[in-house]
C-alpha cells in the first residue's frame, strides 16, 4: 500500500490567552495523516493532543490566541477557510467522537433527533424519514439492539457504553474522510472499554476514511493504529509506524512512556514506574530540548532544541541521541 497524505499539518502553533500570558499549547507541530489509515496521538495530559484534534475540526476554544502554520486537507489550508465553509466541512468531511459520552449528547432531545441533525451537512437533500432510516441501520451496525426503540429514547435512558456507540454511529453516519476520536474509551468501565475497542477495530475494516485516535493509552494505540505520533508539551517528539515505534523507540520520552505501562508480570508491591518531574511551563517555555529537565540521558547538547528528524524511513524523532 502506498502512503497517500490526506491531511498535512505544517508548523502548527496555537496559543491560548490566559491571565498570566500566552500559553503555548502547540508549538511548531508537523504531522501528516495518510489516507485510510489510523493515526494515534499519544501523550500525557496537557501534551496538546486534544487541542490538535480540535484544531483539525476548526473548533479551538474561545480563549485561543495566535494560531500559525497550516492544516492542509487535500492541499487546502483549513486555517484560511471561511467559518461558514468550515462549518460545512464539519459533519461532512470531518467528524469527531468525544471523550465523555455521558455529557456529549443533548439531554432533552431524543437520540433519533440528534442523529438526524448530525447528518444534515452530509445529506442535505434527504428528509427526516430517510435520515432516521439511515440512523436505524447504523445503530444496528454499531451493535445496538432494538434500534427503533433507542432512536425514540433520550440519552439518560442509555448506558455509557451504549451512548458511546451512539456517538460512534453519529460519526460514521457522516461518512467522513477523517474521523477524530478523542479518548473514546477513557470515560468508560474497563469491560465496556474492551467492547468499544473491539467495535472500533471491527469498524476500521469497512470504514473508508482516515482515523485520528487521541489517547494516553499505549495499549489502545498499539492495538488500533497504523502510525503513532508521540506528543510532549505541545510538540511532536517522535512519530513512526506503530510496529517500528514500539519495537525501536528512539526518543527518551517514548521510552519512558513505555516503561510506565503496567506490566502484569511485575511482582505485586513493586513500585510503579513514573516519569520524574512535571510538564514544563508552557507560558515561559524553557530553551533547548523540551524534555531535557526530565530526561535521564541528557547531555551538553540538550541546551539546543533538537529538530524532528527522520532517523530511518518513516520514523522521526526529536532527540540529539536518535
Amino acid at each position: 500500500m502506498n502512503r497517500e497524505t490526506l491531511v498535512e499539518i505544517k508548523n502548527l502553533s496555537v496559543d491560548f490567552s490566559t491571565a498570566k500570558g500566552a500559553l503555548h499549547v502547540l508549538r511548531d507541530v508537523s504531522l501528516s495523516i495518510p489516507r485510510n489509515r489510523v493515526v494515534g496521538l499519544v501523550g500525557e495530559s496537557g501534551s496538546g493532543k486534544s487541542t490538535l484534534a480540535l484544531a483539525l475540526l476548526g473548533l479551538l476554544p474561545d480563549n485561543t490566541g495566535e494560531v500559525s502554520g497550516r492544516i492542509e486537507l487535500d492541499g487546502e489550508n483549513l486555517l484560511d477557510v471561511p467559518p461558514e465553509e468550515l462549518r460545512r466541512l464539519r459533519g461532512g468531511r470531518i467528524a469527531m467522537i468525544f471523550q465523555d459520552p455521558m455529557t456529549s449528547l443533548n439531554p432533552v432531545f431524543s437520540i433519533g433527533t440528534q442523529l438526524v441533525d448530525a447528518q444534515r451537512n452530509r445529506h442535505p437533500q434527504l428528509g427526516r424519514r430517510e435520515l432516521l432510516k439511515r440512523a436505524d441501520e447504523m445503530l444496528k451496525r454499531v451493535g445496538i439492539s432494538n434500534p427503533e426503540a433507542r432512536l425514540a429514547a433520550y440519552p439518560h435512558q442509555l448506558s455509557g457504553g451504549m451512548r458511546q456507540r451512539v456517538m460512534i454511529a453519529m460519526a460514521l453516519l457522516c461518512e467522513p474522510d477523517i474521523l477524530i476520536a478523542d479518548e473514546p474509551t477513557t470515560a468508560l468501565d474497563v469491560t465496556i472499554e474492551a467492547q468499544i475497542v473491539r467495535l472500533l477495530d471491527d469498524l476500521r475494516a469497512d470504514f473508508s476514511g482516515s482515523i485520528v485516535l487521541v489517547s494516553h493509552s499505549l495499549g489502545l494505540i498499539s492495538e488500533l493504529c497504523d502510525e503513532v505520533a508521540v506528543m510532549y508539551a505541545g510538540k511532536v517528539v517522535e512519530s513512526a509506524p506503530t510496529k517500528i515505534l514500539f519495537g525501536n523507540p528512539r526518543h527518551p520520552y517514548t521510552l519512558a512512556l513505555l516503561a510506565c505501562e503496567i506490566d502484569p508480570e511485575d511482582e505485586p508491591g513493586e513500585a510503579l514506574v513514573t516519569i520524574k518531574g512535571g510538564l514544563p511551563d508552557l507560558i515561559d517555555v524553557p530553551k533547548g530540548c523540551i524534555f531535557a529537565a526530565r530526561c535521564p540521558s541528557r547531555f551538553g547538547k540538550c541546551v539546543e532544541e533538537p529538530p524532528l528528524c527522520e532517523v530511518e524511513a518513516g520514523h522521526k524523532s526529536a532527540c540529539w541521541l536518535a
Binding site: 459533519g91 455529557t103 441533525d117
Partner: protein, 330 residues
C-alpha cells in the same frame, strides 16, 4: 394497572400533584380564617359603626359565622365553596362568587398580557445578549435590567400614568374601558400591562441570557458544533430548550408576585379587578369577599404552578421520569 398509570407517566405524576394542590388550598384557607381572629378590628363593629347596639353586632357576627369555632368555619366555607357558594357580601348582600368572577377576567387579562409581553420581549433580548456577549445591547441590558427589576410596579405605574396619560394624553387615565368596546379596553390595558411587565422583561432577559450562556458551554453543544450544525439551530433549538427551564420555573413562582403587583397597578389605574376588590374588602373587614377572592387567587397560583411543573416535565424528559418515580414531590 394499564399503561396510563405506569411509573413515570405524566398521568400518575399529575394525580400526585393534584393531591398536593388540594392540600395547599385547604391549608391556605385555614390560615386565612385564623387571620380573621388575629387582625385587629371586629368586623361587626367596623361595619355597623361605633354606635351599633351589642345585639345588632352579635346578630351580624352570627350571620358571618364568626361565633363558630375555627374548624367549623373552615369546613363550612369549603362545603359551600364546593357548591359554588362563596357567601354573600356583608354590606350589600350580593353573592361573593358573582363579584369575584366579574372582577376576575380583568385581572387575568392584565396578568396574562403582562407575562406575555415580558416573555415576548425578554426571551429574544436574552438570546441576543447571550449570542452577542459584550455587545452594546448586552452591556446596556446589564445596567437597565437591574434598575428595572428593583423598581416596584407601582412606581413604574405612577410614572407611566403621569407621563403618558396626564402629560401627553396618549392613554386613558383610569378604568378598564367600555365593556362592549374591545379597542377601548385594549387602549386601557396598555399602560397597566407595561407597568406590570417592565420588571419582568429585565428579569427574564437576564435569566435567559445567563442560562443560555451556561448551556452553550456544555459538551453537547460542542458536539452539535462538531457536526457543523448552523449556529441558529444550535442556539434556538438545542440550547434554548434547556435554557428555558429555569425561566419557566421562575415564572411559576413569580405568578404570586405578579398577582401582588397587579393589585397595586389596579389600584393606581383604578381598574376593576381582583386586586382592587380584595383591597377594598380588607379595608371594610368584608371577610366573605376577602376569603372568596383569596381562594380564587390561591387557586390560580396553584394551577399555574401545576402548569409550570408539567411544562418542566414536558421540556425535560429526565424530570418526567424522576417525578413520576418519586410520586410527586417537587
Amino acid at each position: 394497572m394499564n399503561h396510563f398509570w405506569k411509573e413515570g407517566s405524566l398521568a400518575r405524576y399529575g394525580a400526585f400533584r393534584l393531591a398536593t394542590a388540594v392540600l395547599v388550598l385547604v391549608g391556605s384557607m385555614t390560615l386565612l380564617c385564623c387571620l380573621t381572629l388575629i387582625v385587629p378590628g371586629d368586623p361587626a363593629t367596623i361595619l355597623l359603626g361605633p354606635r351599633a347596639t351589642p345585639e345588632a353586632a352579635a346578630l351580624l357576627r352570627e350571620q358571618m359565622g364568626l361565633n363558630l369555632p375555627l374548624y367549623e368555619r373552615v369546613a363550612l366555607f369549603f362545603a359551600n365553596a364546593l357548591r359554588g357558594d362563596l357567601g354573600v357580601d356583608v354590606i350589600n348582600g350580593r353573592p361573593v362568587a358573582a363579584m369575584v368572577f366579574a372582577a376576575l377576567p380583568n385581572t387575568i387579562l392584565l396578568a396574562v398580557s403582562a407575562i406575555g409581553l415580558a416573555v415576548l420581549i425578554g426571551i429574544p433580548i436574552g438570546c441576543y445578549a447571550a449570542v452577542r456577549q459584550g455587545s452594546l445591547l448586552d452591556q446596556g441590558l446589564a445596567v437597565v435590567s437591574v434598575g428595572l427589576v428593583a423598581t416596584p410596579s407601582y412606581v413604574v405605574a405612577i410614572t407611566l400614568l403621569y407621563c403618558f396619560s396626564v402629560r401627553l394624553g396618549w392613554f386613558p387615565v383610569l378604568g378598564a374601558g367600555d365593556p362592549g368596546n374591545f379597542v377601548d379596553q385594549l387602549h386601557h390595558l396598555v399602560l397597566p400591562t407595561i407597568a406590570l411587565a417592565v420588571g419582568w422583561i429585565g428579569y427574564i432577559a437576564r435569566l435567559v441570557r445567563s442560562s443560555l450562556l451556561e448551556v452553550l458551554n456544555e459538551p453537547y453543544i460542542r458536539t452539535a458544533r462538531a457536526y457543523g450544525q448552523p449556529e441558529r439551530r444550535i442556539v434556538m433549538k438545542y440550547a434554548l430548550k434547556l435554557a428555558c427551564i429555569p425561566t419557566v420555573a421562575i415564572l411559576g413562582v413569580g405568578i404570586g408576585e405578579l398577582m401582588g403587583g397587579a393589585l397595586f397597578v389596579e389600584i393606581i389605574f383604578n381598574r376593576p379587578g381582583l386586586g382592587s376588590l380584595i383591597f377594598d374588602a380588607i379595608r371594610n373587614r368584608n371577610y366573605p369577599i376577602v376569603q372568596g377572592g383569596i381562594l380564587v387567587v390561591v387557586s390560580i397560583f396553584v394551577l399555574v404552578n401545576l402548569l409550570v411543573d408539567f411544562s418542566y416535565a414536558w421540556l425535560d424528559p429526565r424530570v418526567r421520569e424522576n417525578l413520576g418515580r418519586a410520586g410527586g414531590g417537587a
